[in-house]
Symmetry: C2
Subunit: 337 residues, 2 copies
């Protein structure tokens, strides 16, 4: 595979999953200590990557879960945030300005802060009550944060007897790095072909639903916009028919991400529509990738992870075909703002 | 003012605010009947317009408030939805397919459904437990839905003694239609100038924060995309610096909506940045509009309403300058999907 380090990839994703035990212990301690709710408070892409886990908790668990825009929470406060709150803050660098401000704000209010970081010797790593460290870089952090936040959500539900299959699910997840690697390999030729097709494409509508919506939002904003300077319109499949559809005509690129959770029919509907009205439809469907031994329920949970891992292959080819390194920025870390 | 019916506008917004009493009574009855949570379940634009009210409840009230994508909730269920739930469903037509499915789903589970509709003799109007009817059309529905959902949220908090100034706020809101009319008048020349500047502009990044974020999302998707077929990138001011900023360069249009709530500093930061890197910056700031007798707290609550009302003027000029009627669609009500 192009510009890919197999061992590094496996180590990073296995590293994320090896946190299952420590995360389960930390959540258990917080719940035993009287925690009454949980906040997922990320910034930018890291926030988006926790969305599937937060959504699952909100919809399936009786434990109040809040997913807030961290900078807004710090600006206005939140009635439920306090001594009985668990706060999860992810930041690969461990230094993201807004995330450090969020940590300080939550600690002052007595919350138990769990930081998910790439380096321990950072403001977030040092000041959190529990810092879970898994080194990753831009090309491997999506899967890692999806998995770590999923482990947090599953642990909350398991401790509350809301997810009886916890042990089995964690065991299945432990096999995921190899399945992700196989998915990358299977997708590699298509990644190159797509990168060629997208080489001069100036604009993409990207849509998805359920857990996979996070990946549409993330890939549009944090990869295509930030790292390739390509215009995107991430739009939820449920919103698509209430405005954005009118932009679709011959020549307009629409990318549909399809996962395997209960929300898949929402993306079927978009796919059916756009195939009639534009010649540039790209469907990325996690169902194509065999993952022997992984149950349908777990496949649904990890659909955004599978999408992230195959899309990393697309990015790897895009930067070469477009002669635009993924690390090139106009502004980030170049000007202050 | 261009293509504007003053009396019709005032009647529609006053009609929304005249629902304060009936809404307060219905919420009071539901709470007295043991309601334990509230769901805001809209579809497309109508969902977005309830977001400021839902966010306020989530952050300021101890009453659990959920804002869910209706089509997803129907697909997967939600642990908290049941006999003790109040469900608010807005639909101007009263016939939106997904909204009718949502109503049926929630009624089957025993929830108390409040429908906000433009016509009583519609599926939503007829099947809801409480149907609040206020006729409006596309050019007047934004303010109307913002206000009705705000009245719902304020009522919940008032009944729970979480908003002691309820009566005063409702009295201030009753004066709002005249203030909105004055804001439209004051903005009219700028609306024409902006429409001329935007006439051939193919793409806008639109950003905002707090309650006003809803209007950035709504105006991009439901007006510029749906009614003018102009590409937009609605992006929250907090997300802006985590990807989308890299698209900004000379010639790229960035529109910043500034409201008066606690989240205004997030948009100050974007404004400061973009002024350095593109020559096409449009700032629409609600603080410019005098509203004598309206307190700072109420001004913060109605900032998205003020934005919606001045933006309607922009739309009125855009359709003329661009020779593209706001009612023209490629697909909506023309093909089935």
């Amino acid at each position: 595979m192009l510009n890919f380090d197999r061992d590094r990839f496996l180590a990073i994703q296995s590293g994320a999953l090896a946190l299952a035990g420590p995360i389960h212990a930390a959540i258990g301690a917080a719940l035993a200590g009287g925690a009454k709710n949980i906040f997922f408070l990320g910034t930018g892409g890291a926030a988006i990557l926790m969305q599937p886990a937060a959504l699952m908790l909100q919809r399936r668990s009786g434990f109040p879960a809040f997913m807030e825009i961290a900078a807004e929470l710090v600006a206005s406060g939140h009635h439920a945030l306090g001594r009985d709150s668990i706060v999860v803050i992810p930041s690969l660098s461990g230094t993201t300005k807004e995330s450090v401000a969020t940590l300080d704000y939550c600690r002052e209010r007595g919350a138990t802060v769990i930081a998910l970081v790439g380096h321990s010797d950072t403001p977030l790593g040092l000041k959190a009550d529990h810092a879970f460290v898994n080194f990753a870089e831009d090309d491997t952090s999506s899967e890692s944060f999806y998995l770590q936040s999923l482990l947090v959500a599953l642990s909350v539900m398991a401790h509350r007897s809301e997810f009886p299959g916890y042990d089995g699910t964690v065991a299945e997840l432990a096999t995921l790095p190899q399945h992700l690697l196989a998915a990358k390999r299977a997708f590699e030729p298509e990644a190159e072909r797509l990168a060629e097709a997208f080489r001069t494409e100036p604009y993409h509508i990207i849509t998805a639903a359920g857990g996979s919506w996070a990946e549409a939002w993330y890939y549009g904003m944090c990869i295509l916009e930030e790292m390739q300077w390509i215009r995107t319109r991430p739009v939820h499949a449920a919103d698509f028919f209430h405005g954005t559809l009118e932009l679709v005509e011959k020549g307009v690129s629409v990318i549909v991400f399809k996962g395997e959770d209960a929300y898949r029919p929402l993306t079927d509907r978009v796919e059916k529509f756009v195939r009639d009205f534009t010649d540039k439809v790209t469907v990325l469907d996690t169902a194509r990738f065999a993952m022997p031994g992984v149950s349908a329920e777990t496949r649904a949970l990890v659909s955004p992870v599978v999408l992230a891992t195959i899309l990393e292959r697309l990015s790897a080819h895009l930067e070469v075909k477009r002669n635009h390194p993924l690390t090139t920025r106009r502004y980030y870390k170049k000007v202050s703002y």
